[in-house]
């Protein structure tokens, strides 16, 4: 087994300290009694209490969650279709434009995407609110989903699908019974990616929304623009906590799946 050299140990320690220390400090100061960032005045959970009494935050959280669920689900459906078209549909008229439109939003600065969508919504006289944010988030998130799903589709054995077709499946049945179960992990991680992108987005949502709907990032941004706010520290801690628990559960599940798969393989070998 290779050991860590001192250089590698130092780089890893410094690198991970840099990545995690700011978030650890944020969590630490969310339990500070004092309003000031740096004066430690004793342990307190009062900022959490204030956060949960603040109706504006609760409303914003609800809007954000609604938008994220709708847009990531829609983005997963459209993105999976787009990936299927890219990998399986072969040549068709306007294919270059299509793949260009899939990849362009990934590198487009958010300020431009936001501005463009707002001008469209105004141009067609659409009332801005939850609905327009969902449209905006679905559009950029479906591109991420289709990249994730198409990379899984390209490594996927096409003959399995063809076998299903030969055995009398309709193309849709072949997709539902054969392709979808195999690409399911990519579809699920595409959905999760779209969901977090939507939860996180400030810039595009600011352009796409009207006065009727405020999302959590918009609320956070306006609260911290002028400085540190203990309520936002508490909110951040809750969000970091949810992500950490989610990632730990996901990694335990995937580890268990890997162990189960190995057990099945060994059993299959023994049976032979």
């Amino acid at each position: 087994m290779r050991r860590f050299s001192w250089f590698n140990t130092v780089s890893l320690t410094l690198g991970f300290a840099f990545l995690y220390l700011p978030m650890v400090l944020l969590v630490f100061y969310s339990f500070n009694e004092s309003r000031l960032v740096t004066v430690w005045a004793g342990f307190s959970t009062k900022w959490y209490g204030e956060l949960f009494r603040d109706q504006a935050f609760l409303d914003a959280a609800w809007v954000t969650l609604k938008v994220a669920v709708f847009s990531s689900t829609l983005a997963t459906i459209l993105g999976t279709m787009a990936a299927y078209v890219l990998v399986r549909a072969g040549r068709f008229h306007g294919r270059t434009l299509f793949s260009g439109m899939i990849y362009a939003p990934l590198v487009m600065p958010e300020v431009i995407t936001g501005l463009a969508l707002l001008l469209l919504f105004i141009g067609i006289n659409l009332d801005r609110g939850v609905f327009t944010i969902v449209l905006a988030h679905t559009t950029f998130a479906m591109c991420y989903v289709s990249v994730v799903v198409s990379s899984r589709l390209t490594t996927f054995d096409k003959s399995l699908e063809e076998a299903a077709l030969d055995l009398g499946c309709s193309p849709f049945e072949a997709f539902r019974l054969v392709t979808l179960p195999i690409i399911a992990p990519a579809v699920i991680s595409g959905w999760l990616l779209a969901f977090t992108l939507s939860l996180d987005d400030l810039v595009i949502a600011s352009f796409a929304t009207g006065p009727s709907a405020t999302t959590l990032p918009i609320k956070i941004f306006s609260a911290v623009r002028l400085g540190v706010s203990p309520q936002i520290n508490a909110l951040s801690t809750i969000m970091i906590g949810i992500v950490t628990v989610g990632v730990i559960i996901a990694s335990l599940l995937s580890k268990r799946a890997a162990v189960a798969q190995r057990r099945d393989e060994q059993a299959a070998v023994r049976a032979e």
Binding site: T38, V107, P109, T138, V203, S236, I240, V243
Partner: protein
């Protein structure tokens, strides 16, 4: 028929919500502002047929773009965005390479955990990660407290609201984008090449410089683009950590739109930003293409 429907649904969605909005931005950047808010002139009057189309195009002009050249603010903001993006890409490379290198050389059973620790910040809110530095960098912040306590400085350093804070913010938030491609290049590296180099009389440093570095070049190039391209249009980092002297074009566009409400100029700023970004984006795609061909 079924194939047509399958293609048409995502296609039409992207046309309607991605391509057409851009054409609108382009059109408005070439229009005159009429009574401050929409409608803008010229209007496209399709009922007038060919004549309407002709008058629509003849009334478009480059006035908003010439306006961008008359005010110092804009070209200074473009240049400063490019400069900030270039310097922070370099700093991110300096910080990210050793971490990626150490990860690739770590014992195999450690690697999935280390990889997960690098990816984890992606799932945490970008806005909150930028915000976390406000409490560290401010005058009464943690960093200044520690430095004062250690006796390294006598008076608090002004870091918050300066361009330095923007560099720190970019390096912090984009570090995983640098580490991951370099790690995946280094991980594939064959250790026997290094042994061969050392057997042939290279020092460890020379072996690194002559073997490891060139073989990780594709990862470095990919990482640099992944940091450089989004940083140019960055809005959140300069508006939370930067001061009034930090000029970045994403922030200028935002203010032009939300504060000045000059939509034609904001659209022109967006079009020029896009033109600036086309070069690095094309270079990036070429590099990716080359890499795919080399692997396939």
């Amino acid at each position: 028929m079924r194939r047509f429907v399958l293609i048409a649904i995502p296609y039409v969605w992207l046309l309607a919500l991605f391509l057409i909005p851009f054409l609108i931005v382009l059109k408005i950047s070439l229009s005159d502002i009429a009574l401050s808010r929409p409608p803008y002139t010229p209007q496209l009057d399709l009922t007038a047929g060919w004549e309407g189309l002709k008058s629509f195009f003849s009334e478009l002009d480059f006035e908003n773009f010439t306006f961008l050249t008359t005010d110092d603010l804009y070209w200074k903001a473009y240049l400063s965005s490019l400069k900030i993006a270039a310097i922070s890409t370099f700093l991110t490379l300096c910080a990210g390479y050793p971490v990626a290198y150490a990860m690739a050389r770590a014992p195999e059973e450690w690697r999935p955990t280390l990889l997960m620790l690098v990816i984890l910040p992606f799932w945490t809110s970008f806005l909150i990660r930028v915000y976390s530095w406000m409490g560290i960098l401010s005058n009464e912040g943690v960093l200044n407290q520690v430095l004062l306590w250690l006796g390294i400085i006598d008076a608090p350093l002004q870091i918050m609201n300066t361009t330095t804070a923007v560099y720190i913010g970019v390096v912090y938030t984009y570090l995983p984008f640098m580490i991951l491609p370099i790690y995946s290049a280094l991980e594939k590296l064959d250790g026997s090449l290094l042994e061969a180099a050392e057997d042939l009389g290279c020092s460890r440093f020379a072996a690194f410089w002559l073997v490891t570095w060139p073989l990780s070049r594709n990862g470095i190039i990919a990482g640099c683009f992944l940091v450089f391209i989004p940083t140019i249009g960055e809005f959140v980092i300069p508006s939370l950590l930067g001061g009034s002297s930090t000029l970045m074009i994403g922030k200028v566009l935002w203010e032009e739109f939300f504060s000045n409400r000059d939509w034609p100029v904001a659209s022109a700023v967006a079009v020029v930003l896009l033109l600036i970004l086309i070069v690095p984006i094309i270079l990036f795609q070429r590099n990716e293409q080359k890499q795919r061909e080399a692997e396939g």
